[in-house]
Structures are given as C-alpha cells and as structure tokens.
C-alpha cells in the first residue's frame, strides 16, 4: 500500500497525474529540451507540471514543522517549480546520464523547496539568532529534569567549551543549530552562506567539543564505530 506521501504525489482519482515521466525521459533523450518550437514548449510545460506537483507534495510532507497551508503553500510550490525549471535548463549540459533524466531533474525542485522553507522560517517572530538558550541544553540532549542537578558539572563544561574553545563563527553556528534549533537552511538564508559551508563549520565544532569534553573525562576518548546505514529515513 503506498504511503500518504506517495499517494499525494501520484494524485487522487479526481486529480490524476497528467504527465507521464517516461515521456519526459524520452523528450530529453531525443533532444527536445535543447530544441526549439512547440515540442520544446510542450515538454517544458510538462516538466514544470511535474515539478509543481512534487513541490506541493514535498511542502505538504514537511509542513508539520512550519504549518504552511493553502495559498501560501501553493505560492511556495510555484516559486520552487519555477526556480527549479530555470536551474535545470541552465545545467542541462552537465547531466551525464548516471540516472534517469527525471530523477536528476526532480532533485532541483527538492532543493528549491528546502531553500524556500529556510527563508520562510524567519517569518516566525519569536526566533532569535544570537541569544543562546543555555537552559535548553539538557532538554536538547534528552536529559530528564530530575537528572539535571546530577549533571550540572557536565552542563557547565559544555557551556565553557562552547564559549572558550570554539571560534566565533563555530560558536555562532553551533548555538543557532544545536541550542536554539534553527534549521540549517534557515541559517544559510540568514547568514548568506551555503549548506555545505555551515555543515563543515558545525562538523568542526562538534569534533572540537567532543575532544574537549573527552579530555576532561566527560565523554569516552574513543568514538564508537559509526553506524552503517543508508542514512535515508524510510517512511
């Protein structure tokens, strides 16, 4: 039985999908997208329709965090599909045929949805970027309230390590993401950076904090073996 997300992508009986993905793959293979005239326009319209459907579904799937519905969701879906189509056309020559054309193309609209949601995050009036919510550290890492006192020394060590051992940039990124729980894509939007750069900053901060806490005996010196999984959640 398909999941609710898959059913949404496939369309209900009343909104049946009108674009056959295999026709988009064929259109690419026969050079329609790089051609001219009516066949190209029809293929672009068909691809845009498919991108729009995926954007709507993806926004719906992720809207639990952001409570985006109705016209606002539809507007973000159109923006995502429009920008994805432009990006696809700009990078058409870079596609090397390692997957189906549609799989490659759909990736662009997925990334556009992430970018739009990152920007949308700042519409929340309560989000503060630079104020560290130190009191949230125990909750952030799963500690029950009655156990807080037993680990106050560890809490102090974490705070001290964040303040004294991280660079200003690492501290800014770590506090925003790990303490204040700002989504990475929202921080990318606010700082005018990119996902890879901020992830790398966060990666280095995590590694440094772990080393400091291990050196003081709060964590084991050896890292456990990383789990071997695909890393993709299955719904």
């Amino acid at each position: 039985m398909p999941s609710a997300d898959e059913a949404d992508l496939r369309g209900s009986e009343t909104t049946r999908q009108s674009v056959d993905p295999s026709e988009l793959d064929s259109a690419f293979a026969t050079g329609v997208f790089t051609g001219t005239g009516a066949p190209r326009e029809a293929a672009l319209a068909a691809l845009h329709e498919r991108l729009l459907r995926i954007a709507r579904s993806e926004l719906h799937r992720r809207s639990g965090h952001d409570r985006i519905t109705g016209p606002e969701l539809d507007d973000l879906a159109h923006q995502s599909a429009d920008d994805a189509l432009l990006a696809i056309l700009a990078k058409l020559g870079q596609f090397r045929g390692e997957s189906r054309f549609t799989t490659w193309a759909y990736g662009f609209v997925i990334l556009e949805v992430s970018t739009k949601l990152g920007r949308h995050f700042w519409r929340r009036p309560t989000t503060v970027l630079d104020a560290a919510g130190w009191d949230q550290i125990p909750d952030r890492f799963g500690r029950q309230p009655e156990e807080h006192a037993l680990h106050s020394d560890l809490l102090a060590a974490i705070r001290r390590a964040i303040e004294e051992d991280l660079t200003p940039r690492q501290r800014q990124v770590f506090v925003a993401i790990a303490i204040n729980q700002v989504p990475l894509d929202a921080l990318v939007d606010r700082l005018g950076s990119n996902r890879n750069a901020l992830y790398k900053t966060m990666f280095d901060a995590r590694r440094k904090l772990r080393a400091v806490l291990a050196a003081h005996g709060y964590l084991s010196a050896e890292q456990p073996d990383p789990a071997t999984t695909t890393g993709v959640r299955r719904s």
């Binding site: 579904s57 996902r195 695909t230």
Partner: protein
C-alpha cells in the same frame, strides 16, 4: 554513565563524511540505487561517504527522502 548518550551521538563525527555538496551532487544516483536495492547495500558500497553524511545531516537526509518518494511515486504510477 560518563556522559549523555544523546550528546555523545550528536558530537560524533565520521571521517568518511563527504559533506553536503558532494552528497547532493550524487543524490540522483544514490536514490536510484536505493530504489533498485531495498537493503541499500549497493548505495553504501559505492558511496560510503554519502551514507556517513546522511546519517549526520538531517537537511540532506530530508532531501534524499523527498527525492526517493518522488521517484517511487513515478514507478508506482507506471505499474
């Protein structure tokens, strides 16, 4: 207990982690491998650094899952 298990997990880093840019560059290939092999063994074998990255980066894992759902919907619609 010497530390918080969740903190330990959060601060854990994998040297094989390729980062967001390289992971997203092969997202379409990785997702098709996942769809071809439900165990994910071939995806992990070919792209261990991507698997390591996705285990630590929620935004990228979310993107990969979104693409997997989109492609699987195509396949379901075609059957």
């Amino acid at each position: 207990m010497r530390g918080w298990a969740e903190l330990e997990r959060f601060l854990q880093t994998d040297p094989r982690d390729v980062g967001c840019e390289q992971a997203l560059h092969v997202m379409h290939v990785y997702v098709e491998l996942l769809l071809d092999d439900a165990t994910g063994a071939e995806a992990i074998r070919r792209f261990p650094g991507v698997a390591a990255h996705l285990a630590a980066c929620d935004p990228c894992a979310e993107d990969f899952e979104g693409l997997r759902l989109a492609v699987r919907a195509d396949e379901s619609a075609g059957t």
